[in-house]
């Protein structure tokens, strides 16, 4: 089963990290991913720009309206995700726990089984 691990944390806090703090956390998070990547289980991973860069398209009375900002104003924001092939939920929880241990942001990881997966290649 393919799982999506969705990261939520306060963007205020994460954006306040110094460059050094940010790099330290990212290095540790990469370290956690390494063994999963080597085992061929890690799918696409993304870190998103702050929600201030977000735009939301919403249908109001049948009409699509483009609004500045994220889908919802929340205390914690959706900051990125991982995809991981797991035999069971326990494995997905273990992965999320390893991530959270090296992440000082104090946020949450939502573990969601993937229903449709279409890994289109884009050149970034």
């Amino acid at each position: 089963m393919l799982y999506a691990i969705l990261c939520y944390a306060s963007e205020d806090v994460v954006c306040s990290w110094s460059k050094e703090q940010d790099e330290e956390v990212m290095t540790k998070l990469l370290g956690v991913q390494e063994k999963y990547a080597k085992a061929g289980r890690l799918g696409p991973v993304a870190r998103l720009l702050p929600t201030t860069a977000a735009t939301t398209l919403r249908k109001v009375k049948g009409e699509s309206i483009v609004i500045d900002g994220p889908f919802a104003e929340t205390k914690e924001q959706f900051l990125g995700f991982y995809t991981l092939e797991c035999n069971d939920l326990d494995e997905a929880v273990d992965f999320a726990r390893e991530l959270s241990e090296v992440n000082p942001s104090g946020g949450s990881y939502e573990i969601r089984p993937v229903s449709v997966f279409n890994p289109t290649r884009v050149s970034a």
């Binding site: 205020d12 806090v13 306040s16 703090q21 720009l49 201030t52 500045d68 900002g69 000082p104």
Partner: protein, 424 residues
């Protein structure tokens, strides 16, 4: 990150909101600062023991408010107490306060906190210093280092500025739409000043002043989160990000300034550029152009050029002409002339800047550009006169040497171009 590191990040993140709310509550800057300080001390003591609160800002506001009330009570027993002074259950109260901190309120709180620092009687440097102290929570020592002055001089400057602010009184009423947008414009200008204070730096000073740029970006992002649909705030944030993205390439190993066209573009921060470009895109959709958006769009064109020769100077010329209409200034025209020289040649650029000579007679960039253009036209003698003026206007010997080095190169390039021009 250590636990203490985490706590201090959480506190500085919560600071603008907590200080803004405490200021609304106590209507006095010193009282708000004292209350916040006290709440921070308690946080340092409490959070490691009990774990960090879910909403650090609400916690600090609640604890700060109570300690402030205590202080007021001790100082003057007869003073009337604000209501709700007896809240025993911290947990409930925290939720209660968090709920009452609805978006609009907290938006105006933070805006007010920033706005009182922009008092028109205060010179720009004092506005910046006091904002860094009150809003960002930088220590006097940190601010003094960034401004390259002694600590006691900075302490005095901040104290004087705060006294002026206190005399002026804090505007407590919730602002109307027009007033809110005026405040936002004043605050945006101040954030830009903070950035420029860190950005326009001489060789060797960059590392000490970089925190000013980072703080300005943090404040711009904060403003944008509060006013998500303001294209000018998108433009401001984008402008700062796009300019700061070049920071790693702006100085060579000797701490000397590297000009834009000589910078190693591989050193530019891709992440900041991406965020900046995304914000420019978002802003332009509104079709409500303003000076920050135009400047951000110009910075975006530089950021998009993988090599200096890929730069879209035609578009930059166009954007500067738009900026000239919005914000007429000889310096803007001077910048435009650089683009004009690339697009229409040195003669057109020279014609554009010559009328500015009187107003820019103290500005060494003017004479540097004029000399460069004259060189390209093969008018070596006049060029030398202009370059001599530029050198005479340098502030330090190091700056003069730096200008001289660039002039030497311009002379070589110009001589070559002038020669080929004559040969045609």
């Amino acid at each position: 990150m250590t636990e203490l590191g985490w706590i201090s990040t959480a506190i500085s993140t919560a600071r603008p909101q907590a200080m803004g709310a405490l200021l609304r509550y106590f209507r006095d800057l010193d009282a708000a600062e004292e209350a916040f300080q006290d709440a921070c001390l308690r946080a340092l003591n409490n959070w490691p023991k009990n774990g960090p609160p879910r909403d650090p800002a609400a916690w600090l506001i609640f604890v700060g408010r109570n300690s402030g009330i205590d202080a007021v009570r001790k100082r003057a027993k007869q003073a009337p107490l604000p209501e709700e002074d007896q809240i025993s259950d911290l947990e409930d109260a925290e939720t209660d306060i968090a709920e009452r901190l609805d978006g609009a309120h907290y938006r105006d709180d933070i805006l007010r906190l920033l706005f009182i620092c922009c008092h028109p009687d205060l010179p720009a440097t004092q506005q910046i210093a006091v904002a860094l102290r009150i809003v960002s929570g930088l220590t006097v020592k940190q601010i003094a280092r960034a401004f390259l002055v002694g600590e006691s001089a900075m302490e005095q400057r901040i104290t004087r500025a705060k006294a002026r602010i206190a005399d002026a009184g804090v505007p407590f009423e919730t602002p109307g739409a027009v007033e809110r947008s005026e405040r936002l414009a004043a605050v945006a200008a101040m954030v830009y000043l903070i950035f420029n204070e860190g950005y326009s730096t001489n060789s060797g000073e960059a590392p000490a002043r970089a925190p000013l740029c980072e703080e300005a970006i943090r404040l711009a992002r904060l403003l944008l989160r509060l006013f998500q649909t303001e294209p000018e705030i998108m433009g401001l944030t984008a402008l700062l990000l796009l300019q700061h993205a070049r920071a790693p390439a702006r100085f060579d190993e000797n701490g000397e300034i590297v000009l834009l066209e000589d910078q190693d573009r591989g050193l530019w921060s891709r992440k900041m550029i991406d965020e900046g470009l995304a914000l420019v895109d978002k802003a332009l959709r509104h079709q409500k152009p303003g000076p920050y958006q135009v400047q951000a769009a110009i910075a975006a064109l530089h950021a998009r050029a993988a090599k200096p020769e890929d730069t879209d100077w035609t578009e930059i010329d166009l954007l500067y002409s738009l900026l000239e209409q919005m914000q007429p200034s000889p310096v803007v025209t001077l910048n435009r002339a650089v683009a004009v020289a690339k697009v229409r040649g040195p003669e057109a650029a020279l014609a554009m800047i010559e009328p500015l000579e009187q107003r820019l007679s103290g500005y060494f960039h003017f004479f540097g550009l004029k000399g460069g253009l004259l060189m390209q036209l093969g008018r070596g003698e006049e060029a030398r006169t202009a370059f001599d003026r530029a050198i005479a206007l340098a502030n330090t010997a190091a700056e003069a040497a730096h200008i001289r080095m660039h002039i030497d190169r311009l002379m070589k390039e110009g001589a070559a171009q002038g020669a080929s021009r004559k040969a045609h």
